[in-house]
């Protein structure tokens, strides 16, 4: 397929400029990359600084004589507002800390309430258990009394038994006496 793209002088110019600019910049870096250039630019920079320092000093003196505000005066005023802002920031952060501690206290309080709820429940349950135990104890007492009664009855029965045994012994003795008497009589 034939290339029908029209000739664009701007594209050609662009491509030429790009190449030229790259080469020129490389060349500048190459030329300036020397001790001499560095020394020259340091000297030029020193000279410029010296002039500007002189100019600033004169300006300061003039402002003082004319009782005009200088840049430094404005700086001092601005610094005060910055300091105030910083203090407000610090206060805000302290408020955060207070909020956080209130929040954590609330949480602790909530957990304490939950614990006390649990304790109340446990106390109620214990009370119920106590009442139940009391009833059981009463029943046990009743049983105990019944057992005592049974015991005394048994004791009575035991004495009765002993009496029966002694009666029996007496009876046997009587019988043997009678038999002996009968035997004597029969002789």
């Amino acid at each position: 397929m034939a290339d029908n793209k029209a000739f664009d002088p701007y594209e050609t110019w662009k491509s030429f400029t790009n190449n030229w600019e790259k080469q020129a910049n490389d060349m500048i870096h190459l030329w300036t990359n020397s001790r001499e250039y560095v020394n020259f630019s340091q000297g030029a920079s020193d000279l410029q600084i010296r002039f500007q320092e002189m100019f600033q000093k004169n300006q300061q003196l003039m402002a003082e004589h004319l009782q005009l505000l200088t840049k430094n005066d404005l700086v001092n005023a601005a610094k005060l507002s910055i300091q105030t802002e910083e203090k407000l920031d610090a206060l805000e952060e302290q408020i955060w800390d207070v909020q956080d501690s209130i929040e954590s206290s609330k949480k602790e309080f909530r957990s304490l309430i939950e614990v006390s709820h649990d304790t109340n429940k446990q106390i109620k349950q214990l009370k119920k258990e106590q009442q139940r135990n009391k009833k059981e104890l009463e029943k046990i007492d009743e049983i105990h009394f019944e057992l005592l009664a049974l015991k005394s009855e048994l004791a009575e029965m035991n004495t009765l038994k002993e009496e029966v045994v002694s009666l029996r012994a007496l009876l046997e003795e009587n019988n043997s006496n009678k038999e002996r008497e009968l035997a004597l009589l029969s002789k």
Binding site: N4, A6, F7, D8, Y10, E11, W13, K14, T17, N18, E21, A24, N25, I28, H29, T32, N33, S34, R35, Y37, V38, N39, Q42, S45, D46, I49, Q52, E53, Q56, K71, L74, V75, A78, K79, I82, E85, E86, D89, E93, W96
Partner: protein, 353 residues
């Protein structure tokens, strides 16, 4: 039936109306109103000094672990929410993540003493605490891009907060490797460059200075984007993308003197982070204490952060689950083209449940 010849095609390329439209679009793109950035819906949940912690609510919440994003100090984080359809944040939100972005804002002269240690302990650490509180989550995933990745790694090494995953993209860790020409590096690491005097003079390093610093390293002559725009000015989608990119590219922000001092002396000159000598308010930053799941993403065509600056992190951490990815992209295009999106969705999905 119309018959088109090769000649008629050639003539249409020089169509007068088309040329007027091209130049009008070109002029509008450069001189016209800027496009709005940060299109994904968000709400500020915390402001500190110039910084804001933004919350991007998920479309449909799927993951309990929120994402905390940290971007570099040199530019605005709008590159993470670049354009509808190619935004890292939009992608994460659509996939069911709560996203929190710490936007450093624009430092002013009163912020000149803020250093890296302050950024980590007063902004990142507090931001993460607020993220955990706001999201009511038990853990957080950290994503750091460029210098934001360095900060994320530093923070992860000292964090008391529960961090599940650490993701760093195009991150400078080992500063013994550099993209600078060697004589510049030698001079900057030597005693010739007086950082303190410069910081004393400016207080905060102006955005123009930051821009020229990066421009001198990556591309001192920078005309090709404008020629590309002119060549493709009839493509409305490209023009829109170009405008967004151009806005972000020229949107460098001032850098505080304190951070600049630590960057140049502690990190660039003395490489304290890798040596384990960097401290945050007296607390030693030992990268070996990082035990979180780790993902390191490097870009093959990154002219600012060479792979050698990111790779050593893999050996410095104690994480058992660690992944290193080398992607065909540039320093910025990794986030801009949505490539990072796909990587994050795959890796984070597995590590967030």
């Amino acid at each position: 039936m119309a018959i088109e010849t090769e000649n008629s095609n050639d003539l249409s390329a020089f169509n007068f109306e088309k040329e007027i439209e091209r130049w009008t679009e070109f002029t509008n793109a450069i001189m016209g109103p800027e496009l709005s950035a940060n299109h994904t819906p968000r709400k500020p949940i915390w402001k500190k000094n110039k910084a804001t912690l933004w919350h991007y609510a998920p479309v449909e919440k799927k993951y309990e672990i929120p994402i905390f994003m940290i971007y570099s100090l040199f530019n605005t984080p709008s590159i993470l929410d670049f354009a509808p359809g190619s935004s890292v944040i939009e992608g994460l939100v659509n996939n069911g993540y709560d996203v929190y972005l710490l936007d450093w804002g624009i430092a002013r002269h009163e912020d000149k003493d803020i250093n890296i240690e302050d950024y980590i302990s007063d902004y990142i650490q507090k931001g993460v605490k607020r993220t955990l509180r706001h999201s009511k989550a038990d853990e957080v995933s950290l994503i750091g891009y460029c210098l934001g990745g360095t900060f994320a790694a530093m923070y992860a090494a000292i964090a008391e907060e529960p961090i599940r995953n650490l993701i760093v993209a195009t991150v400078p860790i080992d500063f013994s490797v550099s993209a600078l020409p060697d004589k510049w590096e030698e001079a900057l690491k030597g005693d010739g460059f007086n950082v303190d005097r410069l910081i004393e003079l400016y207080g905060v390093i102006p955005p123009s200075y930051v821009e020229s610093m990066f421009r001198s390293v990556t591309s001192p002559i920078y005309n090709s984007p404008y020629v590309t725009l002119l060549a493709r000015a009839n493509d409305k989608r490209f023009v829109e993308k170009w405008k967004r990119m151009n806005k972000w590219n020229s949107g460098h922000v001032p850098l505080t003197g304190g951070a600049f001092r630590q960057l140049t002396i502690d990190l660039f000159k003395e490489n304290k982070l890798v040596k384990g000598e960097f401290t945050i308010h007296g607390q030693k930053v030992d990268l070996g204490k990082i035990k979180e799941n780790l993902l390191v993403v490097s870009s093959k065509n990154d002219t600012l952060i060479p792979e050698g600056q990111s790779l050593p992190l893999m050996d410095l951490v104690s994480s058992k689950d660690k992944t290193y990815l080398r992607v065909e992209a540039g320093h910025v295009s990794l986030a801009m083209t949505g490539k990072l999106n796909g990587i994050l969705n795959d890796w984070l999905g597995e590590h967030s449940s």
